[in-house]
């Protein structure tokens, strides 16, 4: 009998995926299954937490430059 596992399918660039894998490696709290280099399944209740962590990680990666004139 096949198993059905609830989760969120996340499709993204390989670079984003590798950051998610790195975040998960600290406590293994997010990833249900890695499917390929652009696709993984995340625990549904951890999605918002992961997005916040991902945004933080991306902020660290990019320079804190605000070159666009938006306010």
């Amino acid at each position: 009998m096949p198993r059905a596992i609830r989760g969120v399918l996340v499709e993204c660039d390989p670079s984003i995926k590798s950051i998610i894998v790195k975040i998960d490696s600290e406590e293994h709290a997010y990833i249900v299954e890695e499917l390929d280099d652009q696709t993984l399944v995340i625990k549904e209740n951890m999605m918002s937490m992961l997005k916040a962590r991902l945004e933080d990680a991306l902020k660290e990666t990019q320079q804190p430059a605000d070159d666009s004139g938006s306010d």
């Binding site: 096949p2 320079q63 430059a65």
Partner: protein, 73 residues
């Protein structure tokens, strides 16, 4: 540096998240193929990998019933 930032922004937007169910651990290729084909036919299939015998669907109720009915046969 500016190009790098733009790249990150594009990648950020490219991230797509869809809630649903991952189906895995099929007993054999035939069972996998039958189920993934059925999922596709009823329009719930959004990702599959034949080599891994796994697929992802947005809804699972109808597919569950189908799998049970296959077992009865």
């Amino acid at each position: 540096v500016v190009d790098q930032i733009r790249l990150w922004q594009i990648e950020n937007e490219r991230m797509k998240a869809t809630p649903g169910f991952l189906f895995r651990d099929f007993e054999n290729q035939k069972e996998y193929e039958g189920c993934s084909r059925y999922a596709d036919e009823i329009g719930v299939l959004i990702w599959k990998n034949d080599a891994k015998r796994m697929f992802f669907v947005t809804r699972h109720e109808q597919l569950r019933d189908y799998i049970k009915s296959r077992k009865v046969k």
